[in-house]
Amino acid sequence: MGLVMLALLLWALGWAANAALANGPARGTAAARLAVPLIFGATLLGMWELVVRGLEVPLVILPAPSVIAETFAARTGTLWEDFVQTFLKGALSGYAIGCVAAFAVAIVADRFDFLRRGLLPVGNFMAALPIVGTAPILVMWFGFDWESKAAVVVVMVFFPMLVNTVAGLADTGAMQRDLMRTYGASYLQTLVKLRLPAAMPFVFNGLKISTTLALIGAIVAEFFGSPIRGVGFRISTSVGQLALDMVWAEIAVAALAGTLFYGAIAAIEKRVTFWHPSHRS
């Protein structure tokens, strides 16, 4: 019980520190912007540790962060192997294929209005589907190795990417388009000089949504058959072995990979769409 009280105290302390930082003189600085969420995260971890210890939660239900960290450090080799299998081979290749394919189809659809009008509602519909459900089918079709994971990812990212890109290509002001007409510009010139740059914010929105979808897709697919490595494989196997510390270490890997992936795309976005109001400082 004492430890649980300590957890509450920790929460109060963390919050007070953040309140001081966020409202204090340093509020605008990059350091504060970084420190506040870090303190918040550290507070949560600390509370987790204290509560697990305080209530003596069994290891097989929820391990403490310190135990997870230990496992993480001890099994980096395995974790890396799983990361390569699930993230680099499955998610990333599927992500690349899916996004490029959707982008190409979007450009074709944009060229032929009939196709766009037909494809967009269908694409919108598909984007709302629980496509995770296709995982067992695709594993049956494409085998158990990373190809089937990539296939699931392709299907998952394709439609959000398509819908966003098509919307982006259409997101030019009438005036901007008229301007090109006053120059007597060709279709290709309008596409390259106006529509593609104007579509970039939407394209990147699609790319960002797709990052999380890619990770989910690759991991889900591993539940339906996989080689004996991979994040999803390790998680399900470790649960079966009651090695919950390993499970959480894998979850940490996935969250870390996902955050970095998202962050990388967001960083590229910032450079490419520097001109968009939401990115101007």
Partner: protein
């Protein structure tokens, strides 16, 4: 001398979901080379629509229209005019220089030629030194000047301007008006200029076209007796006030008739 723009009994009706809108009715007008023509009238009287017809961006449903002796569409493809929109409408992902270079790229000018023209037009609109800046780093007035530079860069004989200074404040506007007059004097281009402001129309034009709405039509055409040389305080002169009064009366009459 054949007119640069020659409209005869022009008619344009938009079909919309809630009925037809008669945007232009029986509009006839000749504009000679080197004229500065202003179009003024209340909102919705068809000023923009007329300009867009001249630019070949809209197809009239009746009447005839010739630009430089050819159809408006052919004139558009022959790059007969530069068009300046109400808002500057610069592409935010291009620098000021890049924006001015845009039409030159599309029209396939050589690298040297592009560089030269960008430099020259930037000087013309007094923006030398801002080539590398992005549009949003400039004030509204400067953006509008850049968009004029963009329309000037490929040196078309006609300049179509749709309320180019509508979004600017009076003082900036005054200065741009002065500069525009000087530019017109220097280049001898034919100007078609849409505005809401009576003083602006009177100050700039050799000919003022007063329009009225529902249906959009020309209610008056006023030839200005003002000299070509116009200092800003010509606006406090008797003649100026008289023309302004006549324009205001024309506007009011058009409103009441509608």
């Amino acid at each position: 001398m054949t007119p640069v723009v020659s409209a005869h009994a022009l008619d344009l009706t938009f079909q919309t979901t809630d009925g037809a809108v008669h945007a232009l009715k029986d509009v006839s007008l000749d504009i000679g080379a080197g004229e500065f023509v202003s179009f003024i009238g209340p909102s919705g009287c068809g000023k923009t629509t007329f300009l867009r017809c001249v630019a070949g961006l809209e197809t009239p449903t009746g009447g005839t229209l010739a630009v430089n002796g050819m159809s408006a569409d052919a004139a558009r493809r022959a790059r007969a005019y530069g068009y300046v929109f109400q808002a500057a409408g610069l592409y935010p992902w291009r620098t000021i220089g890049g924006n001015i270079r845009l039409p030159l790229e599309i029209m396939g000018f050589s690298e040297d030629e592009k560089a030269r023209r960008v430099r020259e037009t930037l000087e013309l609109v007094d923006l030398a030194g801002f080539e590398k800046k992005y549009p949003w780093q400039l004030s509204g007035g400067m953006q509008q000047r850049a968009s004029i530079a963009r329309a000037l860069s490929f040196d078309a004989g006609i300049l179509l301007m749709d309320e180019p200074f509508g979004a600017l404040d009076e003082i900036v506007r005054d200065r741009l008006n002065e500069e525009l007059l000087a530019l017109w004097a220097r280049t001898g281009k034919t100007m078609l200029f849409v505005t809401h402001s009576i003083p602006e129309a009177v100050y700039l034009s050799t000919k003022i076209v007063v329009m009225s709405p529902r249906p959009g039509r020309i209610s008056d055409v006023i030839e200005s007796p003002l000299p070509k040389e116009r200092p800003l305080d010509i606006r406090d002169s008797r003649e100026f006030i008289e023309i302004a009064h006549r324009v205001r009366e024309g506007l009011r009459a058009g409103m009441e008739a509608a």
